[in-house]
């Protein structure tokens, strides 16, 4: 008898509807309004790469040891350096990082002995061309400079 009554009055379906109804309250909204509100990503987030510079003199921290390039499974980092005849040190000339092939695994970051290469919280990496995804030293040091559109 009870099962028949439950069937007739659609108790099982109404139960489900009640769950849906319960979550209608505005405080239950979880959707992020992304382009308008930037979500906060975690501190350890592995996003756009950055080549750190010494904040005091603007010199790069990179010592051209090539360890990041060797650690990368995709071999997408190319470190170009020149031996400085006066100081006998290596000077960084170019640094390319092809984000289109990068899987943001963080192995290069872990390999760097001086924390020069770092994956940052910046996650907006889209670009209009494939070449745009290849970061050179300037982009790596200054960060991506997206084109500002005025509406």
């Amino acid at each position: 008898m009870r099962t028949i009554l439950r069937k007739v009055f659609l108790v099982d379906l109404l139960q489900g509807m009640w769950v849906t109804f319960r979550t209608q309250h505005p405080k239950n909204i979880v959707t992020e309004q992304y382009p308008f509100e930037r979500p906060k990503v975690a501190e350890r987030y592995r996003g756009a790469p950055r080549l750190n510079i010494n904040p005091e003199n603007g010199q790069t921290l990179c010592i051209c040891c090539d360890l990041c390039a060797l650690a990368c499974p995709e071999a997408l980092i190319v470190v170009g350096w020149e031996r400085n005849p006066e100081t006998k040190r290596k000077d960084l000339v170019t640094f390319t990082y092809d984000t289109s092939r990068c899987m943001f695994c963080g192995l290069c970051e872990d390999a760097c002995p001086v924390d020069a290469l770092e994956l940052t919280q910046d996650f907006e990496l889209a670009s209009y061309s494939r070449e745009g995804a290849i970061f050179d030293r300037q982009i790596l040091e200054e960060g991506i400079q997206p084109k500002k559109y005025v509406f």
């Binding site: 139960q15 489900g16 650690a71 499974p73 695994c105 192995l107």
Partner: protein, 369 residues
């Protein structure tokens, strides 16, 4: 039977590779008699990336991020399986703290994987609402991954010999909060689905695979347990300290789609139990064992299998003494479980075929590798 003299009623149809309910790029060739399925054949390989071959050209450390992409829904479990296999080759064991953190993260990943399965499976069958709720809760697990290792999906959380990252501040609390929050949510999903008559009609006695067939096909994971076999590698061959935790293996009798649903729901509850125990007993100490910088295992081979959310996930690695694996074979649960599709779907209706594909819980990245 009609089909013996009227073959013209038979119809061969392609389902997929772009069918939304094949969960990726799976093509199923279906032989139909009206609505009835006479046989199916799977065409796979659309997502083949040659992961096993890539392994032969990468060092042991470098290959670790690639395993995340085998089963991208359960990247943490894949990472664990690979790390355990290499550790076995090297004959090292991760320290207790690393093991506990590994357990916490893999169990969170199991919950995340089951939630995604539940949402999409329900969506295939016509219940749209659970998807949103499942995604909402899965977000919490992804947030923990993001805070812990910096990525949400392809995490690369573990390293050979232990962990790369120490847990962040508030990790324990966040895990426990998630446990508290999540248990009532499982009840909520059950409230939505378990008693629902449409859900029951669509699932009960659909896609039955009994225990003997499961064993014959090599089917593992929740599918095997739904058929009544109490086999869970976490209990049978404990790894990463699972023997320390107290949990049950949920099983059911019939081995139909409904039972698999119930088993997975119970597994999520058990996972919460494991996470609680692991977080409460989280030991202190080092997070990496002593492993050489350049990993060069001795000549030999190792097979390690773990209980991934979808079944037995095995890594078989042959080392020839160099820095690169000579051969790395992955035994993916989805690939093996998918072979039972024909047996399960024979004689059912086309609409049930969608439910059956959903219940296997396949990830095509893992099927094709």
């Amino acid at each position: 039977m009609a089909e013996t003299f009227l073959d013209s009623t038979e119809l061969v149809l392609n389902m997929g590779p772009q069918h939304p309910s094949t969960h990726g790029v799976l093509r199923v060739i279906v032989k139909l008699d009206g609505e009835k399925v006479l046989g199916t054949e799977c065409v796979i390989g659309y997502l083949h990336r040659g992961v096993e071959k890539i392994a032969e050209n990468r060092t042991y450390t470098m290959f670790a991020p690639y395993v995340d992409r085998i089963d991208y829904i359960a990247a943490v479990s894949n990472g664990l399986g690979y790390c355990l296999a290499v550790e076995k080759l090297l004959n090292v064991e991760a320290p207790a703290r690393a093991q506990a953190v590994r357990v916490i993260l893999t169990e969170l990943n199991r919950i995340g994987s089951h939630l995604l399965w539940l949402g999409t499976h329900a969506l295939d069958i016509g219940a749209i609402t659970p998807l949103f709720y499942c995604m909402r809760e899965r977000e919490y697990t992804l947030d923990i991954f993001e805070k812990y290792c910096g990525a949400r999906l392809t995490t690369h959380a573990f390293r050979i010999g232990g962990l790369q990252y120490e847990t962040y501040e508030g990790f324990e609390k966040e895990c426990l909060d998630f446990c508290d929050l999540f248990l009532p949510k499982v009840d909520e999903y059950e409230e939505l689905l378990t008693g629902n008559r449409i859900w029951r009609e669509r699932l009960i006695n659909v896609g039955i695979l009994n225990e003997a067939d499961c064993k014959a096909f090599g089917v593992t994971g929740p599918m095997l347990r739904a058929a009544g076999c109490k086999w869970d590698i976490r209990k049978a061959l404990p790894y990463s300290g699972y023997e320390k935790y107290d949990f049950e293996i949920p099983t059911r009798e019939n081995g139909d789609t409904y039972d698999r649903y119930i088993v997975r729901m119970q597994e999520m509850r058990q996972s919460v139990r494991i996470i609680r125990q692991a977080v409460e007993g989280l030991p202190t100490g080092p997070i990496t064992a002593k492993v050489p910088k350049v990993i060069k295992p001795p000549v030999g081979e190792a097979y390690v299998s773990i209980e991934a959310p979808k079944g037995e996930l095995g890594y078989y690695i042959v080392s020839d003494g160099t820095t690169q694996p000579y051969r790395c074979r992955v035994r993916p649960p989805s690939f093996v479980n998918l072979q039972a599709l024909d047996r399960m779907s024979r004689g059912s209706l086309v609409a049930d075929l969608v439910a059956i594909i959903g219940t296997i819980d396949i990830v095509l990245g893992e099927v094709d590798r």
